[in-house]
């Protein structure tokens, strides 16, 4: 196997077959194996060894920043920078500041959730070595793929090939790097 190889790719007909394959790869010490499916399969990322996920904390931070920032902006504008005396009513009229604060809390949290998801997933990334494999287009339609990448610490060409062959995939391909 040459140096310019991204990894080995095996194709499976069903989600259960992919889950079983992912479990076996994990048992053989692979921590960076990648599984591709046309829909979300609950728990599959756990079978592969999981990945870090800070979508939820990022959402919290985004919401706090949005809400806190908006409340501060209103307080600053209404109390410090542009105070208007309306019949002696308090300048810091906090109940009236809640609607905008609430709305921007939601907006900040939603933006943070989506951004965190994209950044952590390394998207947008318009090209990827896997797209060089012609059959990989089925990963978004009806087929399930397991990829043992060459950058996995335990990856060795011979044993990796043997392991995948033993799983009896529908198809086995070398992914050029």
């Amino acid at each position: 196997m040459s140096a310019g190889v991204y990894g080995l790719l095996a194709e499976f007909p069903s989600a259960d077959a992919l889950c079983a394959a992912a479990r076996r790869a994990r048992e053989h010490g692979y921590t960076r194996a990648e599984a591709y499916s046309p829909f979300s399969i609950e728990g599959l990322d756990g079978e592969l060894g999981g990945g870090r996920d800070w979508v939820a904390p990022a959402t919290l931070v985004g919401g706090l920043l949005g809400g806190g920032g908006t409340y501060f902006l209103q307080w600053y504008a209404a109390v410090v920078d542009y105070p208007i005396n309306v019949g002696g009513r308090p300048l810091h009229s906090w109940p009236a500041f809640i609607p905008a604060t609430f709305e921007i809390t939601i907006l900040g949290a939603a933006l943070a959730a989506v951004l965190a998801m994209l950044v952590q997933n390394g998207l947008p990334r318009l090209h990827h070595p896997l797209f060089e494999v012609e059959e990989f287009e089925l990963a978004s339609r009806n087929r399930f793929f397991l990829c043992l990448p060459a950058h996995d610490p335990v990856f060795a060409p011979g044993p990796a090939l043997a392991l995948l062959e033993d799983m009896q995939p529908m198809l086995l391909r070398e992914v050029p790097g």
Partner: protein, 466 residues
């Protein structure tokens, strides 16, 4: 490098079993090809083109009406003192109400694990986006000097003024802007895996332009398991965030009225009453759109009788909530002992706008009672006609809320009438044409049902989890 073909490789690809939300016999590939094919085959036929050209005509009429408004000012409408809020504000409330069902279906039904959400959420979200965008146009047009609408945005400016934070109109700006942005995010995130499917299908079909366009929009989505896990988490969080947002938006819209001291406006029932009305009109619009869509594209296997019947049940329930709002308004008016409130209420029954009031009751309260009959909930033509009647009824409700209070307020010497002008009508029907136009483009270029979620539904039904 291919291994020898072995006949007993793992399992065979699953096929759906019949469940109320999906008919039997569909596999992953079939649902993907069926839905992607609608977009990629490009065969839209004379019906689509006729509808599209008619909608184009309506959009042009709207553009003319808006241009004339910009030239002459809002005097071309029937608004005057005392009725300074006419069609524009009524249309705004109506459209933003319609825009509620999409996010409700996507977010609330997702959190409640309602499976009948799956095949209707995508186009309902598109409906929400378009309706909310159109709604946002009306208050801006109504401003008198629409080109200064950005003064609502808090930004450091050379005038050294800030928006009035205690005004519901500023709250409204934040509510609508946030609702639009979050609905767009929710819709787009849900679309990403489907855009990847379209990219790959277009590639197989050799449609290079489509492949590049969908590929750019799909952001390079590959469907890796860890990506899916983060995607699901983000999607669930968005649903959780959108749920209180849906309730907040029409609440804030209702505060535009309830904070004002006008007979018929100044009422604490307004926020829940507006939210219930929004769901009512939104679900009516979902039916108005779903029924022609499933017929036009042969989607009866995906959008089944169960979906329509469930939407009909929501209509029946929300119709009662709206009815409770009407009753509560009447009760509060008489209980208050305030002669202006009482007069305004009696005036709705017997005054110049009484025909609108009684038609509204017929459309929103009386007709929906037919939905108690199972046969009616299962009759597609009846549901379609009923959904149209409810749309009209809800528009009349918005009109009445805005106009009937203003034309008889606290100063009898200033009482007056509102008569819509031709431009009012052109703007209303033009906005409907714009909605249809956007929706036709949506079904032409984007998958109107979520393919990824349909594949999941196939798996669940095949496993008997469903």
């Amino acid at each position: 490098m291919n291994p020898p073909p072995s006949p007993d490789t793992a399992a065979r690809p699953p096929r759906s079993r019949a469940i109320p939300e999906l008919r039997a016999g569909w596999g992953y590939a079939d649902v993907s090809d069926k839905i992607a094919g609608i977009v990629l085959s490009g065969r839209f036929g004379w019906k689509w083109w006729t509808a599209f050209l008619l909608a184009c005509g309506g959009v042009l009429a709207l553009l003319v009406a808006v241009s004339w408004l910009l030239v002459k000012g809002i005097g071309i409408w029937g608004v005057d003192i005392p009725v300074a809020w006419g069609f524009a504000i009524g249309n705004f409330v109506w459209w933003i109400g319609i825009g509620h069902a999409g996010t409700f279906i996507s977010a609330v039904l997702l959190l409640l694990r309602q499976r009948w959400r799956t095949s209707i959420n995508r186009f309902a979200e598109a409906m929400t986006l378009f309706a909310a965008s159109i709604a946002g146009i009306f208050p801006i047009l109504h401003l008198g000097r629409p080109w200064f609408f950005y003064w609502l945005v808090p930004y450091p400016n050379i005038m050294n003024v800030w928006p009035q934070w205690r005004s519901p109109l500023v709250w409204d700006f934040f509510a609508i802007a946030t609702y639009l942005s979050v609905s767009l995010l929710f819709w787009y995130v849900g679309l990403i895996p489907d855009l990847a499917t379209l990219r790959d299908r277009a590639g197989v079909r050799g449609q290079r332009g489509a492949q590049v366009a969908y590929g750019l929009l799909a952001l390079g989505w590959r469907g890796e398991a860890r990506h899916w896990a983060r995607f699901e988490r983000a999607y669930l969080l968005l649903a959780g965030l959108a749920t209180p947002l849906v309730v907040s938006v029409h609440t804030i819209v209702s505060l535009d009225f309830a904070v004002g001291n006008t007979p018929g406006y100044h009422s604490t029932i307004f926020p829940p009453y507006f939210v219930a009305g929004a769901l009512f009109s939104g679900f009516a619009m979902v039916l108005t759109l779903a029924i022609p869509l499933r017929a036009a594209f042969g989607l009866q296997d995906f959008i089944t009788g169960r979906h329509l019947a469930n939407a009909a049940k929501v209509l029946l329930a929300t119709s009662w909530m709206v009815g409770y709002g009407y009753l509560s308004e009447i009760f509060t008016a008489f209980y208050s002992g305030d002669r202006y409130e009482i007069y305004m209420t009696v005036n709705r029954w017997t005054g110049p706008y009484a025909p609108v009031y009684w038609s509204m009751l017929a459309c929103n309260i009386l007709l929906p009672q037919l939905l108690w009959w199972r046969r009616l909930r299962q009759s597609v033509p009846a549901l379609f006609v009923l959904s149209l009647a409810i749309n009209v009824g809800m528009w009349m409700e918005r009109f009445l809320i805005v106009v009937s209070s203003l034309h008889r307020d606290y100063l009898p010497s200033a009482w007056g009438m509102f008569y819509p002008t031709l431009w009012d009508w052109i703007t209303l029907f033009g906005s409907i044409a714009l909605f249809v136009w956007l929706f036709l483009l949506f079904v032409r270029f984007l998958p109107l049902i979520s393919m990824a979620e349909m594949r999941e539904l196939v798996r669940d039904s095949a496993k008997g989890k469903a």
